[in-house]
């Protein structure tokens, strides 16, 4: 068994994708010589050369727009936007063109762009380095949005994203880049839009994605000491969303707690709650609880721990839901 950090697994995914398809090219700021600020593209420039791996000017809208143009020539661009908040300059290109170009051309031009974004908080970052932009993208028809929680899924999901004929936003939880996972890298054994039960239990379901998956697993372990068996679910895909899994969890546990770093207001938890209600209202034994970041801008490093959903907050919400 090999031990992989998420950063190394993502690097291997890019390496394998570049090898498998000579129309795959990488564009991003500091991804070449420097190997990316999180080293995800380490040594790819050396291996594949500067006609496959492009160190770009600081130009998020420019490189995402260029990626759209590249698709018309049959290229398969993989763009790195260095940090979550730096995806915003490219927002117009992503929403107006990346998401809609296939429809606008009546399917004549596929847009198989992968946009990798180191996302979410938890690394004591500067402002604009801890954002949770998932709902902006998940709300946009034409995009797919995926976020891995561990190294093995990171490999599988990034390979899937690059091979997918549609544009995929890959939100890489930067707090998990250096966390390790044992196993062999390989293609995703689950279908597009499929979440995963990462710990089973019948009393309550804890639902998360990205960096919060580790936290709901920890919360589930703590709950077990108090006699509550919690199921932990990693959604993986935010678009498409795994309706069947939500329905199953509602039917089988009757109680759900959804956890994310983003602010609560119009956060992804609202979609999870509304959809579960539509799918399985009669199975619900308690209101669906949301444990989220606060409805404030992401805080400075010294306040980060009070902003992010803590294990304590998740445990408390789960207990309240079970006791309802």
């Amino acid at each position: 068994m090999t031990s992989w950090t998420m950063s190394a697994a993502l690097n291997q995914a890019l390496r394998d994708a570049l090898t498998a398809d000579d129309r795959v090219i990488l564009l991003g700021e500091d991804i070449g010589v420097s190997g990316g600020v999180f080293r995800v593209t380490d040594s790819l420039l050396e291996t594949f050369g500067d006609r496959r791996v492009f160190d770009t000017p600081i130009s998020e809208a420019g490189i995402v727009g260029a990626a759209v143009g590249l698709c018309f020539g049959g290229w398969r661009p993989v763009v790195e936007l260095q940090f979550d908040a730096f995806s915003y300059p490219a927002f117009e290109q992503i929403v107006d063109h990346v998401a809609k170009m296939r429809m606008r051309t009546r399917g004549r031009v596929d847009i198989p762009i992968t946009i990798r974004i180191p996302a979410f908080g938890g690394i004591k970052g500067k402002e604009h380095h801890g954002e949770s932009p998932e709902t902006y993208f998940a709300h946009t028809a034409g995009l797919k949005v995926v976020t891995p929680s561990g190294a093995l899924d990171a490999y599988a999901l990034l390979r899937h994203a690059i091979e997918d004929p549609d544009p995929v936003i890959v939100l890489e939880p930067k707090a998990r880049y250096w966390s390790k996972e044992e196993g062999e890298l390989g293609p995703d054994e689950l279908a597009l839009g499929t979440g995963r039960v990462v710990r089973d239990g019948g009393d309550v379901t804890l639902i998360a994605y990205g960096g919060m998956v580790a936290r709901i697993r920890e919360a589930a372990e703590q709950l077990a000491h108090t006699g509550i068996e919690a199921r932990a679910v990693d959604l993986r895909w935010l678009s498409p969303l795994d309706d069947d899994l939500l329905r199953r969890c509602a039917v089988e546990t009757g109680r759900l707690v959804v956890v994310h770093e983003a602010p609560r207001h119009v956060g992804f938890g609202a979609e999870v709650a509304a959809r579960t209600m539509e799918l399985a209202f009669d199975s619900l034994a308690a209101p669906i609880a949301r444990v989220t970041g606060w409805d404030t801008p992401y805080p400075p490093a010294s306040l980060e721990d009070r902003y992010l959903p803590s294990v304590d907050r998740i445990v408390a919400a789960a207990k309240e839901t079970v006791a309802y």
Binding site: A66, G69, V109
Partner: protein, 357 residues
């Protein structure tokens, strides 16, 4: 060199644009590129057809057969001159005002006008086969697509060139800057073709930017040229030179074609709210078709019979397009879901079933 007898539009101050024909049709500059008589006549024919169709489109909108339509009257030389210079495999990245370019590229006007008929976004023609990209409304965003398209052409080792069309207003957008910068750094086979038509809806060019647009090229490390956009021969020559430069691997060129938007920004716009009629009348005196026609006759490349044939053909053309446009059906409702994803998820498929009943 003869003095132009008619003053160009007011926003043309500063650097004199490159010019072959004066507004009165007299020769004032070196055409640089020699065109045969039949090629010259073909250019005039396209200009006449394009103007007639543009007017027909405005009529169609007034009659409720098209939704909002953005006219291009006055810009025929800029559009036809540049489009005629392109090679078959060169790729055009238009805005929403390049119907004349589309005609020269062989885009079926009936398909193109589905956009303005309100039956499809983007453009239902095949952008790869026609080498004419989707109609693009978000200002300047298509220039970044053109940069990417040009990068792909460069990586493929082809000798194809991309040309991005945009207006004076687009040069205030970040995407113009980002695309121009990428083009310079990567020495892309790209022509940045700005039609400075004086007005971005109600904003005059002088308030849009304090400098001259063509001069910006220097900051990006490639040449810029200002050309009389109402002089089809000057536009053709400047575009040809830029294309050849790009094909040689010498990188991009920024062309600022000085022209004038005679009509409204679109059929939803009332230009009397922001500009005076005398300005428009002065601009009409610099009409690109009259100028070229005068010279063609004087130089013996065309005669009155040809001009009359053009007018007859333009009338027939407009009527044929009109018949096609009014017959465009509404798209089937299921098309709303058809091309959103190549491989949709199950939730999307369920919604499709829900919507279609």
């Amino acid at each position: 060199m003869a003095e132009p007898q008619v003053q160009p539009p007011t926003h043309w101050g500063g650097t004199e644009p490159r010019r072959v024909l004066a507004p009165d049709g007299s020769v004032v500059g070196d055409p640089a590129v020699r065109l045969e008589a039949d090629e010259l006549r073909a250019i005039l024919r396209w200009m006449v057809l394009a103007r007639r169709l543009d007017r027909e489109c405005i009529a169609l909108q007034r009659q409720g057969e098209l939704t909002v339509y953005p006219g291009f009257e006055g810009q025929e030389a800029a559009q036809i001159g540049s489009a005629t210079a392109l090679g078959d495999a060169d790729m055009v990245w238009p805005t929403f005002r390049e119907l004349a370019v589309a005609l020269v590229r062989g885009v079926d006007p009936g398909q193109y006008l589905q956009y303005h008929r309100g039956t499809w976004h983007g453009g239902p023609y095949d952008p790869r086969a026609t080498r004419f990209g989707p109609i693009c409304i978000p200002i300047a965003t298509q220039i970044a697509h053109a940069a990417g398209g040009a990068l792909g052409q460069q990586l493929d080792g082809s000798h194809e060139v991309s040309i991005a069309y945009f207006g004076d207003g687009a040069t205030s957008e970040g995407d113009f800057h980002e695309a121009a910068n990428l083009a310079g750094v990567w020495k892309l086979p790209l022509v940045l073709f700005c039609q400075n038509n004086g007005w971005a809806i109600s904003m005059p060019a002088a308030q849009q930017t304090a400098g001259e647009i063509w001069r910006r090229a220097e900051g990006y490390g490639f040449p810029g040229v200002r050309v009389d956009g109402n002089d089809v021969l000057a536009v053709y020559a400047a575009t040809r030179e830029a294309l050849e430069r790009a094909r040689r691997g010498d990188g991009p060129t920024l062309i600022e074609a000085m022209t004038y938007r005679i009509g409204a920004h679109s059929t939803a716009d009332d230009p009397r709210r922001y500009r005076a009629d005398p300005e428009v009348e002065a601009a009409r005196a610099s009409d690109p078709i009259a100028r070229f026609r005068t010279w063609l006759i004087a130089a013996g490349h065309a005669d009155d019979t040809f001009l009359a044939e053009c007018d007859v053909e333009a009338e027939r053309f407009a009527m044929t397009v009109r018949e096609g446009v009014v017959a465009i059906p509404a798209p089937p409702p299921e098309w709303q879901f058809e091309w959103v994803y190549a491989e949709p998820g199950e939730t999307f498929q369920r919604m499709r079933v829900e919507a279609m009943g």
